[in-house]
């Protein structure tokens, strides 16, 4: 009986470590105590902290966020085999572990243990060096790119889903086939959706495959995001550290502010589920959409909401109307993009939608891009079973120009600036309070509305007219 008890307790402990957060922490601490290497960083870290450069390579967020272009080799190869170009690009970014050289070429590496996956679909590995560190030659990169894309497409057709195909590249065919079989036997509605499939993998398999699968799918979704507005809008505040317009301190701005008049329709940038449609004191009326795989977007300071929580929305669907609710100094849209709960710069993914000097070629490229997406749509796995954890409320910054102080109560934006020397700012009915200069705003220097000037934080976030979807573009 004691031996049975020993086995039962061990089984319970193993399950606790594999499935519960408490067990996961215990596992992480144990790994650290034993000196094991840390788990690979999540996708969001590549866009927030990057990685130290090694042998000419570095994690370059502006490269990682670049959507597939029609003339890119991966797009051409993906169209040839029938895979979604955005997924192909996301797959290559994950295969490169986010590393790219100075020219922006991804350092594509083949996952370890790819032989069973190749054999399962009747492919053979080309004679390329799979272990050389450092930047690749063009031929090696092209060979690995073609191999990964074709392999993924073949498994996608065989298994009926993108997530199982991606998991196969990482784990091999056997675990994924077994998990799919169990999921179907249990009557799961969407067995090929990653959250469902992951439940039927072992804890170790799940840990190995999840960053890879979720990262590729999240990137693929991010590359296909549209614009939240149908008309151009001025970017008044970009992503990243900025001087808070009220507090005067340097604070991170977790999204971008777009100046739009009240009543402008706000559109869903991609298909998803409404996680939150509510109002609070800071963000006003806001909507948060979950596009699956940890990718969420938020639309704040709306005047009216047109969706409710748990609604399914399509790309381009009207979800709210812009306004100036919450801690806002004027009508604008605060748009936020998050990967696994970490805010990232939306312009990284939407930069190529920005209209360029060669507007004809640009719009033509966008038309081609739309066609590429239509041809390579593939299997879209977004559904009720595809969404990730519940997202928390979005807290955007106070929308304003750089370093400006505005008055909300009069609602004048952009006109009607008030200088700090305005008596309404400095009137103090209790003279004894003048002993405490911090309570009196007259100590703040006068600020005049400066001409809007571009920020110089990163090359990819050069502000300009907010890109809008070409009216002739279809999806």
């Amino acid at each position: 009986m004691r031996w049975l008890e020993l086995g039962a307790v061990l089984a319970a402990l193993y399950t606790m470590v594999a499935t519960t957060p408490l067990g996961g922490w215990a596992w992480t601490w144990a790994r650290r105590a034993l000196g094991r290497p840390a788990e690979p960083p999540g996708l969001a870290r590549w866009f927030t902290t990057g990685a130290p450069p090694a042998e000419g390579l570095a994690v370059r967020p502006e490269v990682l966020g670049r959507p597939p272009t029609p003339d890119a080799p991966e797009t051409v190869e993906a169209l040839r085999v029938g895979l979604r170009p955005a997924l192909a690009r996301g797959l290559l970014v994950m295969a490169a572990r986010g590393q790219a050289d100075a020219e922006g070429a991804l350092d594509v590496q083949l996952p370890a243990g790819l032989a069973p996956a190749l054999a399962g679909v009747g492919m053979t590995a080309p004679p390329i060096d799979a272990g050389a560190p450092g930047p690749l030659t063009g031929a090696a990169r092209a060979a690995r790119t073609a191999l990964l894309i074709e392999l993924t497409q073949r498994w996608r057709v065989r298994l009926g889903g993108e997530a199982p195909a991606l998991a196969t590249l990482r784990l091999g065919p056997a675990p994924v086939l077994a998990a799919l079989a169990r999921a179907r036997a249990r009557g799961e509605v969407e067995p090929t959706a990653w959250p469902t499939l992951a439940r039927y993998l072992s804890g170790d398999e799940r840990r190995r495959a999840e960053p890879w699968v979720r990262g590729a799918l999240a990137l693929a979704t991010a590359y296909e995001l549209g614009s939240p507005l149908a008309t151009p809008a001025r970017l008044t505040s970009g992503f990243g550290p900025r001087t808070h317009p009220v507090l005067g301190t340097r604070r991170p701005h977790t999204g971008v502010d777009l100046a739009v008049p009240t009543g402008t329709p706000l559109l869903a940038v991609g298909p998803g589920v409404v996680r939150l449609a509510r109002e609070d004191a800071v963000n006003g009326k806001y909507v948060r959409l979950d596009h699956g795989h940890g990718l969420t977007t938020a639309y704040c300071h709306a005047s009216a909401l047109e969706v409710a929580a748990h609604d399914m929305v399509q790309a381009g669907q009207r979800i709210a109307t812009s306004g100036s609710t919450g801690r806002s100094t004027g009508p604008h849209l605060h748009f936020q993009l998050e990967l696994d709960g970490v805010p990232v710069d939306p312009l990284l993914f939407m930069a190529t939608l920005r209209p360029s000097a060669t507007a004809g070629a640009g719009s033509g490229a966008r038309e081609v891009g739309a066609g590429v997406r239509e041809v390579g749509a593939g299997v879209r796995e977004l559904g009720a079973g595809d969404v990730g954890a519940v997202e928390r409320g979005a807290r955007g910054g106070v929308g304003a120009g750089e370093g400006e102080i505005h008055r909300k109560e009069h609602g004048r934006f952009p006109g009607g600036w008030r200088s700090a020397k305005d008596p309404r700012w400095t009137s103090v009915s209790k003279p004894w309070l003048s002993r405490f200069p911090r309570l009196v705003s007259s100590s703040r220097p006068s600020r005049r509305r400066a001409a809007w000037r571009p920020r110089s934080t990163s090359t990819a976030s050069a502000p300009g007219v907010w890109p809008c979807r070409s009216p002739t573009r279809t999806r």
Binding site: T15, V390, R392
Partner: protein
Amino acid sequence: MAASPTPHTPPVTAWPQRPPAEAQDRGWLGRAWLALGLFALVLTGVHAGADVVDDLAFEAVLALDRGADALATALIEGLAGLLGLAPATAEVWLVRALEWVDDEAARHLGRALALGVEVLVALVLALPLVDPRAPQASRVALARALRATFRDPTVLLWAAPLATAGASLAGLAVVATELEAGGRALLAPLGLEADLEVLLTRLLAVGVTSVVLVVLAVRSALRAWVRAEALAAGDARRGRIGLARRLRGSLAMLLAVPVVAVAVRASAPVLAALVGVR
């Protein structure tokens, strides 16, 4: 002079009371090991309903934050009017107060609350079972518990064994799923035939799950039942102190029962598959 009564081992009815020496069949290490196993099983089962618990915890944090924001706004605006503060100063105070709990903090609070609820429920259900003073689940004790359940029901008497059984069942479902996947990963290097591999993994999963069912799940439910009966009998004779303890127990069950119900509902498909019902 009356004859002395026949010596017999008095039944364990009052709480707390050290059980007979022969019932103490394990040392502190054995009890700690069993406690760890029961806690792991119950926590695993409770975590099966984590999606719903996370949602509810997050809604609770948002509601608290909304109330705090409203209170802060009212207080600061009132103070500003009372003291004649400059609007910009009041705005600074207000923004600092409203953004004190930012998005990341709200997210962490929600997750911490959900995790805290799970761990608390697991502790409420599992730890009392390994108290050395708890009575053993003997036939006499079980019969007494059965009588008391229908003749003198209390919240704890009904809720504790049901919640413990539910959490254990949900944990069993997760154990079976993990063992089946882990068993396949274990057997994969042997290169067995697919059918044989499936059969062996199923046997492994069903076998180990059965052992866990008997050793941990059933034992925990029965001991919870017997313990609840002993507590109820003791509380009935302790007046106000007993009433206070009953209230504490009821409140604990008020938290545990819904969480366990959600977990059982989430595990229902796997449980049905284990039993063979589609």
